[in-house]
C-alpha cells in the first residue's frame, strides 16, 4: 500500500477529473425535526454538494450494486413460443466517492456470497466490476458498533482511502488505477507530523465508540438460546415492516415475480429485495407459512447475519453500521438484541 498526502484544495480537481464518469456520493438530504442533518447517497455533479463530512447515510450505497427492484430478464412472447433477453442493467462504470469503512466491508462481504460462491450472480458482478471506490474516514455515531464486528477499518475493496487530517488528506492508494488518476495532483510523502495526526485521528475514532456487541462464541450462544423467551419479546415489538432490510448494506434476500404486459406480447421477470421480517417470507405455494410469527422471523434475521454467514465465511454478515437500529421505529437494534440473548445489560437500559 502506498501512503501519500493530498492538500484538501486538490480534491475538487480530482472530483472534476473523475466527473467523466458518474459519481455517487453522500449528500445532505434534509434535516430531521430536531435539526440533525440526514444524509444519503446520490448522483453528485457539483463538488460542493458532496458532503464528505457526513456522519452516516440513512440508506446504504447498496442500491447501486443491488437495486431494490431489478429486472432479471424480459421475454418476447410469440404465438406459442418465447425468447428470453437478459440484461445486467449497467451501461457505464461509476465512482463511489466517500464510503466509510463499514460500507466498503459490506461490499466485500456481499462479494463472498454473490460472486465468490457457487452460482455467482452476474447482475451484481457487472456493477461491482465497474466501480471505482474512494473511502473516507469517519467518527462513529453512538449507535455504530463496527469495531465489534471488525469492520472499522477497510483493508481491501477500495481504490483510494482518504483520512481527513484537517488541512490535508492522508491517502491510501490501493489500485494502480487510482495511482494513475492521482498523477498531476500535488501529492507529497507523509511527514512525521502527518503520522502523528493520523494516529490522533485514530485515537479520536476509538474514543467515540459507545455501542458494543460481544461476538465471542456468538454462533454457539445463538444455538443455545434458540428457544430463549427473549426472541418473543423482540418479536412482539417488531412491526414486520422490512425497514431494517432496506437500510442494511448487506441484506440481499429477495423475491422473484413474473408479470405479463397488458398486450400479452412481452413478459418480465423481476427480483425485489425482500426482508426476512416480512410476514410472507417463508410462505409456500398453497399457503403454508414456515415462519408465521414475527418472533421467528426476527430471530431468523439474526441467525442469518450472526450465525449462518459466520459458518459459511468465518465472518459475520453484519458490519455494525447501526442503520437498522437508527431506522427502526420499534427501536430494535443489534447491540440490544445480542446483549439480551447473552443475558447482558442492554445499552438502552444504561
Amino acid at each position: 500500500m502506498l501512503f501519500k498526502i493530498l492538500p484538501k484544495s486538490e480534491l475538487a480537481g480530482l472530483f472534476a477529473a473523475l466527473s467523466e464518469n458518474d459519481i455517487i456520493g453522500p449528500v445532505h438530504k434534509g434535516d430531521n425535526r430536531a435539526g440533525t442533518p440526514l444524509f444519503d447517497f446520490a448522483r453528485v455533479t457539483d463538488f460542493d454538494t458532496l458532503r464528505l463530512d457526513f456522519t452516516s447515510t440513512v440508506h446504504s450505497a447498496k442500491r447501486f450494486v443491488l437495486p431494490y427492484r431489478e429486472t432479471l430478464s424480459t421475454f418476447r412472447i410469440t404465438k406459442d413460443s418465447w425468447e428470453k433477453q437478459v440484461d445486467f442493467n449497467i451501461e457505464r462504470p461509476f465512482v463511489l466517492f466517500g464510503l466509510h469503512a463499514c460500507d466498503i466491508n459490506a461490499l466485500n462481504k456481499l462479494d463472498k456470497v454473490l460472486m465468490g460462491s457457487v452460482y455467482p450472480t452476474p447482475y451484481y458482478a457487472a456493477k461491482r466490476r465497474n466501480m471505482f471506490i474512494i473511502g473516507i474516514d469517519c467518527i462513529p455515531l453512538s449507535s455504530c458498533f463496527c469495531r465489534s464486528m471488525g469492520t472499522d477499518t477497510a483493508l481491501t475493496g477500495f481504490d483510494l482511502f482518504l483520512t481527513d487530517l484537517g488541512e490535508r488528506y492522508f491517502v491510501e492508494i490501493r489500485s494502480a488505477k487510482a495511482f494513475q488518476f492521482l498523477k498531476g495532483l500535488s501529492l507529497s510523502d507523509p511527514a512525521d507530523s502527518d503520522h502523528d495526526l493520523y494516529l490522533d485521528k485514530n485515537t479520536a475514532m476509538n474514543a467515540a465508540f459507545v455501542a458494543h456487541v460481544e461476538t465471542s462464541d456468538l454462533t454457539k450462544i445463538l444455538d443455545l438460546e434458540f428457544e430463549s423467551p427473549v426472541w418473543k419479546d423482540w418479536g412482539a415489538r417488531c412491526l414486520s415492516c422490512g425497514t431494517c432490510a432496506n437500510v442494511c448494506p448487506t441484506c440481499y434476500c429477495y423475491g422473484v415475480e413474473e408479470t405479463v404486459a397488458l398486450d400479452l406480447s412481452s413478459a418480465r421477470k423481476e427480483k425485489q429485495l425482500h426482508s426476512c421480517n416480512l410476514v410472507d417470507f417463508a410462505e409456500v405455494a398453497g399457503g403454508h407459512n414456515f415462519r408465521p410469527e414475527s418472533a421467528s422471523r426476527l430471530k431468523y434475521r439474526y441467525y442469518h447475519k450472526h450465525r449462518g454467514f459466520v459458518e459459511a465465511f468465518e465472518e459475520s454478515l453484519c458490519v455494525g453500521c447501526g442503520r437498522c437500529g437508527r431506522s427502526c421505529l420499534a427501536e430494535i437494534n443489534v447491540p440490544d438484541v445480542i446483549a439480551s440473548i447473552r443475558h447482558e445489560e442492554m445499552v438502552s437500559d444504561r
Binding site: D80, L239, C241, T243, T259, L262, L264, S275
Partner: protein, 277 residues
C-alpha cells in the same frame, strides 16, 4: 375480435365486464379511463358491456362487476344484491367499496339526525350509516386505494385473463417507502400510518413527504397497538392517531378501541403508550 386469443397456447379469458358506482366520487373509474395509451390494450382483454362514465348503452349480461363506492341508501343495497346475483366475480374497486372510504366518517357522528339536517336540510332522502360492499354481499376481489392505481387494475385484469391468482403485498408501506429511500415521516415530525398499512401504492404519499392515511387498509401482520406506541412516543395525541385511523375505514376496529382508551384518558389524564416502549 376474430380468433380466440392465447398465451403460450393457453386460451386467454376475455370476460364481459361492467362498472358500477354507489356512494363515491367516481374517481376510481376515472383512473381507469385515464392513461389513454394503455386503454386499447385494456379493452382487448375485457369486453366492457356497461360503464356509465364511458359509454351510453348498458347491459345486464356480464361476468365481472367492478363496483366503486360504499352503500349508504336502501335502494343501493337492493341494486348491489342484483349485481352480486348477475356477476360471477364481484370486484370492490377502491377504498369506499372496500372499507366505506372517507364517506364512513359520517358514522362517527353520535347524532345522525343532526348530520342529515346539516347535509340535506328538509330534503326527503333516507341516508343510512355507511357500509362497505363486504358488509352486504360477498366480495371476490378487492382493489385497494384512494384512488386506485390504474397499473394495479391492469395487472389484475391481465392476471384474470391468464388465470393467475391475484395477490396483494402482505407487508406494510414502510417496505416500499424505504426502497424509495424516503426520509421517514416520523423523522420529519409527521404522523404516518405506513407501518400498518398494506403496501402496493409504491408509497405514493410518503414519496411526496406526506404521511400515509391508510387508504389501503391494514397489512396482513399489522399491529396498530404498536403503531400507537410509536405515535405517542413521537408526541402525537390519541386524537391525531384516531383521526388517521378513521379516515378511510380500514381500521375501524382499532380506532374504536382507541376511542375507548381516549375516554379513559379523559378520566385519568395520562396516555399509556403501551407496547413496551
Amino acid at each position: 375480435m376474430g380468433k380466440e386469443k392465447t398465451y403460450l397456447g393457453v386460451p386467454v379469458y376475455r370476460p364481459r365486464v361492467a362498472f358500477f358506482e354507489f356512494t363515491s366520487c367516481e374517481g376510481c373509474q376515472l383512473q381507469i379511463l385515464n392513461r389513454e395509451e394503455s386503454l386499447l390494450d385494456f379493452l382487448n382483454l375485457v369486453e366492457i358491456v356497461d360503464f356509465r362514465e364511458a359509454m351510453t348503452e348498458g347491459s345486464d349480461d356480464y361476468e365481472i362487476a367492478f363496483v366503486e363506492g360504499c352503500i349508504s341508501r336502501d335502494d343501493e343495497v337492493v341494486r348491489l344484491q342484483e349485481i352480486r346475483q348477475r356477476a360471477k366475480v364481484l370486484v370492490a374497486l377502491g377504498s369506499c367499496a372496500c372499507f366505506g372510504g372517507v364517506n364512513q366518517l359520517k358514522n362517527r357522528f353520535l347524532d345522525q339526525g343532526w348530520v342529515h339536517r346539516q347535509v340535506y336540510g328538509e330534503y326527503p332522502i333516507a341516508s343510512l350509516p355507511v357500509r362497505s360492499l363486504a358488509d352486504i354481499v360477498t366480495v371476490d376481489v378487492s382493489i385497494f386505494g384512494c384512488p386506485i392505481k390504474k397499473e394495479e387494475v391492469e395487472k389484475i385484469v391481465t392476471n384474470i385473463a391468464l388465470g393467475k391468482s391475484i395477490v396483494h403485498p402482505k407487508y406494510p408501506v414502510c417496505m416500499e417507502c424505504q426502497a424509495n429511500e424516503n426520509i421517514c415521516l416520523f423523522d420529519l415530525g409527521e404522523p404516518c400510518l405506513g407501518p400498518v398499512t398494506r403496501a402496493g401504492c409504491d408509497s405514493w404519499c410518503p414519496n411526496n413527504r406526506a404521511g400515509c392515511w391508510g387508504c389501503r387498509g391494514p397489512a396482513d401482520d399489522a399491529d396498530p397497538q404498536r403503531l400507537k406506541a410509536i405515535m405517542v412516543k413521537h408526541g402525537f395525541s390519541l386524537e391525531t392517531i384516531i383521526d388517521r385511523l378513521d379516515c378511510f375505514g380500514g381500521f375501524v376496529r382499532e380506532s374504536a378501541r382507541l376511542r375507548d382508551e381516549l375516554e379513559n384518558v379523559g378520566q385519568t389524564g395520562s396516555v399509556d403508550p403501551g407496547g413496551g416502549i
